[in-house]
């Protein structure tokens, strides 16, 4: 196929599929725990990290990883310390990150084109170095999720019974936030900071509509995400579009079709 003649496209597919698998796996837990707002805050923090990298001359992708992990720790700290203000804390982290990002972007006027690729995702931008980081961090997140799957299941099901069964809920929650932060940061390359939460949430939402067991929920979420990323990348290649947007539109279309289909089945229409 023509599309694979370009090495940047091969890299885009590798990064895209890796991101899809990781976001859609952790996404099921994020949605069940009603934490998609955390995803939003952390992805905004990763944009601030990108801007900081560009301004201060370190690799922006590392900035994205570092800032989103730091924001995750901050959010967890606030959630643990001031339980009632958890939601406000998230909103503050999100706006403060966005503010920091905007200020740093306007300070370094020269990098507008680059920042664009981090905002909306880019096919060309995925470097050899990015791929390595994406695959190593992605594999780390997947292995950690696998090891923690039982604890995460119990906590998502009911936090208090999880505590009473001896699961170290606070520790697992901090780990989970860090894993979410890593996931968002590595997906930023392909989908962009503005749309990465969609990749976290939409495939999981589809799986909640269709799954007949928890194991199948993660699998369905994976399939939807990989499908959206692969078709989205192809379309954005042939029509020269920002990949983040196409990927998210396709995932949304899948969700829409599934919701309509379920309604019709529910009413005995099919």
């Amino acid at each position: 196929m023509e599309i694979f003649k370009y090495s940047f496209m091969v890299r885009a597919f590798a990064a895209g599929i890796a991101s899809a698998l990781v976001t859609s796996s952790i996404g099921v837990f994020v949605v069940l725990r009603r934490m998609s707002m955390v995803g939003d805050s952390l992805s905004h923090a990763s944009l601030a990290g990108v801007a900081a990298g560009m301004l201060f001359g370190f690799y922006p992708f590392y900035g994205a990883v570092a800032f989103s992990v730091l924001a995750a720790l901050l959010v967890e700290f606030v959630r643990a310390t001031f339980k009632r203000y958890a939601e406000i804390a998230l909103a503050v982290v999100m706006s403060a990150s966005m503010g920091a990002a905007v200020v740093m972007i306007s300070l370094g006027r020269s990098f507008n084109a680059d920042i664009f690729s981090y905002l909306f995702g880019s096919l060309m931008a995925v470097a050899e170095e990015d791929i390595k980081l994406i695959i190593i961090l992605g594999a780390f997140v997947l292995v950690a999720l696998y090891i923690l799957r039982r604890q995460l299941f119990s906590i998502a099901f009911d936090e208090e019974t999880a505590r009473v069964s001896g699961i170290p809920v606070n520790k697992v929650n901090v780990l989970f936030s860090i894993l979410t932060a890593l996931t968002l940061a590595i997906s930023v390359r392909i989908v962009g900071t503005l749309l990465v939460t969609a990749l976290l949430v939409i495939p999981a939402a589809v799986s909640l509509q269709l799954a007949r067991s928890f194991n199948s929920a993660i699998l369905i979420s994976n399939v939807v995400a990989v499908f959206s990323v692969v078709t989205g990348l192809c379309i954005s290649f042939y029509f020269d579009l920002a990949p983040g947007g196409t990927i998210v539109l396709i995932a949304s279309a899948v969700l829409f079709v599934v919701l309509i289909g379920k309604r019709r089945v529910g009413k005995g229409g099919i």
Binding site: V28, L32, R34, R150, Q151, F153, S154, A156, F157, D158, E159, E160, T161, A162, R163, V164, S165, G166, I167, S207, L208, A211, R212, S213, F214, N215, S216, A217
Partner: protein
């Protein structure tokens, strides 16, 4: 005598306002069937959460199996069914089998593969819901869901179960089955039961200890045979007969 399963000494607690519990003393012995009753908002749920270390009291001491709840680690001995089934998300895409198995996901319960499956099967059979094994938890009726939570709570063979209004939303017939089952587990296996309930009649029927929670105080009545329903109703300030006709 054995160390008590649960021991509260002079426990007081407030949510920031007036005290909802004041100098509460409770002892639950091994093999007890301890029923906690009281009007809505009397702090029964709070009291149970204090016993489990989920809520930390302002004053007083809480011990589980003789150990301070803060440093208690033998959680495999304990199982809990929260009120209204906790904050269970009805879109949770898990089967009954998966939910019951998760009762074994805690510490000190390294069951895997075959032995996990066996334990789940046994728990489903004990509660009589084998036929629901492959159903999604979100598609069950309230009563069926409570049974699933009870199976989840029994799957690890705990020594004591804490049940917070386990039969709310359950029809009268299933309610009776539910209590019979608990009575049997209590008598045959020596399972210690701590249960919050509004069903004073049943509480008097099967519990050997009743705690009446009201106005921040807990009155303990042992020898439940000696006290009549009317007596309890009087203490609690509401009539059972009125409740029954509802």
């Amino acid at each position: 005598m054995d160390t008590p399963v649960v021991e509260l000494k002079d426990v007081s607690f407030s949510y920031g306002g007036p005290k909802v519990l004041e100098k509460v003393n409770i002892k639950v012995e091994k093999g007890d069937f301890f029923a906690l009753i009281g009007p809505n908002g009397a702090a029964k749920t709070t009291l149970m959460k204090i016993m489990l270390g989920l809520v930390v009291p302002d004053e007083g001491e809480v011990k589980l199996f003789g150990k301070n709840v803060k440093s208690f680690r033998q959680w495999h001995k304990i199982a809990y069914v929260p009120q209204h089934g906790g904050q269970i998300n009805l879109s949770f895409p898990a089967t009954v089998r998966e939910v019951v198995a998760s009762g074994l996901f805690g510490k000190n319960r390294p069951l895997k593969g075959k032995s996990l499956e066996e334990a789940v099967k046994k728990a489903l059979a004990t509660v009589g819901i084998e036929h629901l094994a492959a159903r999604l938890i979100g598609e069950l009726s309230g009563g069926q869901r409570q049974k699933v939570l009870l199976a989840r709570c029994l799957v690890g063979n705990p020594e004591v179960v804490f049940l917070d209004e386990p039969t709310s939303g359950v029809d009268a017939e299933s309610q009776q089955e539910f209590y019979d089952l608990l009575d049997r587990l209590n008598k045959e296996r020596g399972l210690t039961v701590v249960m919050i309930t509004h069903d004073i009649g049943t509480a008097c029927g099967i519990a050997n200890k009743i705690g009446c929670v009201k106005g921040g105080k807990v009155d303990i009545h042992e020898n439940t045979k000696d006290i009549t329903e009317d007596h309890i109703a009087e203490i609690m300030g509401y009539s059972i007969k009125k409740q029954r006709t509802k």
